[in-house]
Symmetry: D2
Amino acid sequence: MDMIIVMKSSATAEDEQSVVERIRELGLTPHPSRGEFRTIIGAIGQKTPQLQQQLEQLAGVDEVMAITQPYKLASREFHEADTILDIEGIRVGGPHVNIIAGPCAIESREVLFGVARAVKEAGASILRGGAFKPRTSPYSFSGMGKTGLEILKEAGEAYDMPTITEVVDPRDVDVVYQYADIFQIGARNMQNYNLLLEVGRTDKPVFIKRGLAASITELLMSAEYVLSQGNHRVILCERGIRTFADEVRFTLDVSAVPVIQERSHLPVFVDPSHAAGKRDLVPKLALAGIAAGAAGAIVEVHSCPDRALCDGPQAVLPNNFVTLMEQIKQIAEIVGHRVTLWGREEEQSRRPAVGGWAG
Amino acid sequence: MDMIIVMKSSATAEDEQSVVERIRELGLTPHPSRGEFRTIIGAIGQKTPQLQQQLEQLAGVDEVMAITQPYKLASREFHEADTILDIEGIRVGGPHVNIIAGPCAIESREVLFGVARAVKEAGASILRGGAFKPRTSPYSFSGMGKTGLEILKEAGEAYDMPTITEVVDPRDVDVVYQYADIFQIGARNMQNYNLLLEVGRTDKPVFIKRGLAASITELLMSAEYVLSQGNHRVILCERGIRTFADEVRFTLDVSAVPVIQERSHLPVFVDPSHAAGKRDLVPKLALAGIAAGAAGAIVEVHSCPDRALCDGPQAVLPNNFVTLMEQIKQIAEIVGHRVTLWGREEEQSRRPAVGGWAG
Amino acid sequence: MDMIIVMKSSATAEDEQSVVERIRELGLTPHPSRGEFRTIIGAIGQKTPQLQQQLEQLAGVDEVMAITQPYKLASREFHEADTILDIEGIRVGGPHVNIIAGPCAIESREVLFGVARAVKEAGASILRGGAFKPRTSPYSFSGMGKTGLEILKEAGEAYDMPTITEVVDPRDVDVVYQYADIFQIGARNMQNYNLLLEVGRTDKPVFIKRGLAASITELLMSAEYVLSQGNHRVILCERGIRTFADEVRFTLDVSAVPVIQERSHLPVFVDPSHAAGKRDLVPKLALAGIAAGAAGAIVEVHSCPDRALCDGPQAVLPNNFVTLMEQIKQIAEIVGHRVTLWGREEEQSRRPAVGGWAG
Amino acid sequence: MDMIIVMKSSATAEDEQSVVERIRELGLTPHPSRGEFRTIIGAIGQKTPQLQQQLEQLAGVDEVMAITQPYKLASREFHEADTILDIEGIRVGGPHVNIIAGPCAIESREVLFGVARAVKEAGASILRGGAFKPRTSPYSFSGMGKTGLEILKEAGEAYDMPTITEVVDPRDVDVVYQYADIFQIGARNMQNYNLLLEVGRTDKPVFIKRGLAASITELLMSAEYVLSQGNHRVILCERGIRTFADEVRFTLDVSAVPVIQERSHLPVFVDPSHAAGKRDLVPKLALAGIAAGAAGAIVEVHSCPDRALCDGPQAVLPNNFVTLMEQIKQIAEIVGHRVTLWGREEEQSRRPAVGGWAG
């Protein structure tokens, strides 16, 4: 997209329709986005001064802007306010801080239900659990697959939490769609473009982890793949980059949080668990991320990490998670945010409906 | 796999069968690999001294070894000699140096045929060309798809060169199999495990590029995904890693060549084009790779790089490629290798059939 | 040092003396360190079981331990409790959080006094300002030298703040010693060993910044250079490492804070200014560091950054520094620390004298 | 420097003098450099179009150019042809390839003389040996100091080889100057600016190793520190950068060789020994560097590496060094270079005196 067309607040549906049609006639692809007060229409393609002028003269058009970044729909230029998603009644982004918690892999009904209850009680709002696990070795446990998804869905319903799980294969998008509330795209798949296009064609939120050597621009371009398909519900996640520093598994790049927020309207989370690689460091990194302004954290919690089939050493114990939630809540407030506890916020009913183009 | 069972050269097919069955009874998974002179059987699973002793006593067994590396079938411990592949009559690996050349993306019949003729004449033995291009931006040219594959196959036949092309989606493995001779797994997909498993179930060679932040161990683990499915025809490629050094696109890690050769029996290539990102540096890096002992290089060549739809700035011009081939040939000889020119080697007929487990 | 000898709390000065002499006789170098309740003596050199046994039998010896880390005096094995320094009455380390603030370079009396007053009022406890500036270009402003030191000393006295300034040349150690309270060793000089030895021979605190490609172990080894000369007053500082991520100047490795704290007893600061490279990110990174448990932050503040002779773009404005100090104070409390405001802590008088070997 | 003034070949000494004086009057600093056919004068300072015009009108001035790079005297803009140094009769740079060899540290007269004889016989032209060794640990052997320098000088004289040794402290520049022919600035001291200034004030060649996280620009800026003091005899060295790749000690960035050559006229060497960290890889990396066009390599050779006091595992054995020299010689020829063997080149007498501003 080379231009975004900002419609006047007084523009009619017919005005919008005319602009969309005109964009098509000009050989560009229109991306309309209806916000509370006005509509914005993206126009992807070769921009020329003449085109811009032509579009500016159409009825209902307030302004036509060029977007200079390689990412378009993901950029702040396109959408100035923070995007706030509504995921099963839970607000994600803007001032809302959400903690996603659960085991790395779904291993059994007992373990998942136990962890789900614990993290829910501690204040987490979204439940995580992997059914399809990308593993470095072909000889490692790679998840329970569909059975795992069934258990996850049950646990989410039992504890009234939306669920998130990783999808690694475009062929699995349908089955994951049936069971989970949020698609997770792992770091290794951040540039698996066909997978991104596939989840971009659904209407469920997509949580994209930064690749371990991905620049911020590349992360936003991956978000653009999803956005370009019409799915505007994208969450980004800094999960640690690979550097020479080998004392931890990955180097959590906390500066990515404010840098992304400056460039994009999408919510940014941190993943302290994979960055740290060991339990003791997880709370420190989680707090650092929240202090830097992150919209949340995704934390691995396990009731019995020694027996975990995957990434046990980095799983936080439930009682430590309680302490962590308490500190997160306090730090979020200091930086002007507030934590969505247990999937509910009392003051939500008193505020107007969530604005934003993401609908 | 925790053990490899080396059969005596005198062992019979029945001996092999007995060992395979015994391995299964012991709760391990057998991986038989028949070489010219003897068979080697991998046994994945929990190894104990008792197990080792039991297996050593079976008829036809010469030796039972534990493999200490996380990668098993890819390790030198498992297969001591260099693997030499036979791809449509061309030898790859061991002392054979092959140059793969062609445009980044297949753009038209004219361009591809022109480049194919030029690189063939200069001495390249394998033709490259992308039909499915993973691009950072969803708005960039992403390849001609199946039409591109058809043109590639025609060009390969016209100039008597095996062809290599990238596959990015497990759903495309079948169609790529029909048209190309070698599957290329790009750096972004090095850990797309389902894709690796899918090409591992075919009988065509798989050329795996190192991910831009992948360790050598992780690269070998990705090879292991292919090998574990029974496809033993794997080639590895160092293509530059991402470092702080931003004067070039990626930092070609030439040391990866000897390091991989020390640990694995698989052929190792270098990709100077993606590492350099600009034409002038490509020959320097190609020569450095060959001097370090690489089994070949994959070089982007384009007759009209200014009009290339993808990665034009890094494409070498045909006449520069002629000079480069001449230097490669000489340097290969100095380090004890020789270049497979135009897909033929006169002395091949005089040497015994290629050994090696890869068949 | 291969061993540390922990003396009994009942050991006499004579016992200590005997042990020290015995260590010398055995061909090792003794490093006695007298704490509140007992003395610990390091013995550097080749350790053998016999030596250990011989030392254990001496009068007053409670325990003899080998130190496994390459850094000895810097390790937690050697000194289990957090080291708390007393710098002109200000406690640094342990639960105490100190903010060091001031301009990058000392440019004039007016600017420095203005900034000093502002940061003092906002709550900073230590004043920074560079007189010898290492600059990438030989044609850049490299500091006011001795004149700058004089101004710094005056400003420190005027606002009752200890001062810190960088020393880059072993020949300047004497002059810097005369004017400043803390030696700063910059990232570029972290492995300038002769400089480290020289400041190690003084009795003023040394603030060592991590080199931009230094591992934690290497940073602790640099501390060891200072400690080995008898100067036990060392502070460490994470200031951002060089990675592929070029959206910021350096990647602040917040995980370094808890990792160092696990391995060493020395206080750890963060430098958000050099990591960020731009003003807007500085508060975010400062808060992240404090949330991760840092003992303080060193922040560049300038009243008129547009006219700063060095690193203007990363200098925080005085009024933003006020807000930052307020947030730092609150976050420090949440993680169990407290900020040393204006160089004073009311409760200090009520607590016993600072323990710790650092005296 | 913002401008370089190229004098006409017909310009007289008086013309030059007038230009130099005019530059001074204009408030800039002149840097005259007399080549074979014409003189070039650098003018550092604020450049304006008027200044440029004024200078262009002076007698004997052919052209006035602005230099856009931050490094000036080091840039190809300033000096287009390769600089060729004459070090005790040995040509370094341009088409000349020199191999510097010797032990890491000078340990004894016997060892150094033995190694010197071996490397001389194999064809090395310059002798290396460390007397002041920067070591990560304060408890490691740090060199023999002045005694070592004496032995080095003797060995150089005995085997008719110029010598190179590291200097780590500005206070040691005088003593090193007395004994060695080339100052080596190690990677850790690449940005020890006072040290660079100090060696810049001498007339002996300075061999600067790239810092392990230094960009090419930063390396050239360090060269600029030396050049700016009037010492134009600088050699650069790529010695491996620190990346996530931990299979080798450092990642030899071979692309640095052509990148530096594009930007600067100074000779570029590679150090395969420190990059590899282990003996077996050293020849591979040395050949890669020479194939990429390096002006030489600095190789650690030790007759008894197991007993070496420093970096034994990466020292090549004398007999392997013979083979390596043979391969280097051949590869150098293929890429258009030739090796300076045993400090002599027959054809030198037949060629005209070395040109170049470095004189």
